[in-house]
Symmetry: C2
Amino acid sequence: MAVNDVECCETFQTHEELLKVVSEKMPNEDKLYDLAELFKVFGDSTRIRILYVLFEAEVCVCDLAETLSMTQSAISHQLKILKQSKLVKSRREGKSVFYSLADGHVRTIIAQGREHIEEL
Amino acid sequence: MAVNDVECCETFQTHEELLKVVSEKMPNEDKLYDLAELFKVFGDSTRIRILYVLFEAEVCVCDLAETLSMTQSAISHQLKILKQSKLVKSRREGKSVFYSLADGHVRTIIAQGREHIEEL
DNA sequence: ATAACATATGAATAAATGTTCAAATGTTTA
DNA sequence: TAAACATTTGAACATTTATTCATATGTTAT
């Protein structure tokens, strides 16, 4: 049994190799945190509904509020989160602010999620 | 101004059309909830780290605990969540329980997430 | 400048979530 | 059967989070 091996589950397996491969491919702590933060953004049905609206059109905050039957404040708070994670972008036009999707990953990620839950 | 149009942002736009298209393409409430629940699972760095280990090998609970330097109870709780959402599957072999990825969506979804955060 | 509209923000509250600890369950070996 | 090992589970605690309410900021028209 090699020096770095660890007793575990009585299997006395060589963990050296696993630990090495995992530590090579595992993103660093900051990146893992960012990744989790990104998926947290998708982990709320209000934000997903907002994204589904933006799949169809560029809309202003009060249109979103009306379409989703929620207060303008609640929508605005969620849009801020979506914007911080670069999933949506905004553009001011007079008194209104129009929001739209920032890039294509949004569609891909949600599509993969749907595929997964529909396969069950 | 058509009957169903709504005053919003003083734009007096035809919301009929948007509402119609959105309601056609928006998943129903249950599916939206499931979708959000799925992404919530990805929204925790401990679970993402578990998935990264499972990218490399089928491992037992105490291997995971050791590799990630966490208690086996914490790992077990998270594995339960991953299993409930069908992202991982398990197999008992003697006293140990081995976990592995359940399907390919896990890799795709995480890959898309990484692409997104690395593009910024 | 003032009023009206659209959006953003901060504080507060209620609900959800991850980890720890202790104890229970399931499996193998003596 | 009893003891040892691997995993699961439930309750408790601290932290995070989504919405609401009130208010502030920014823009346009009078």
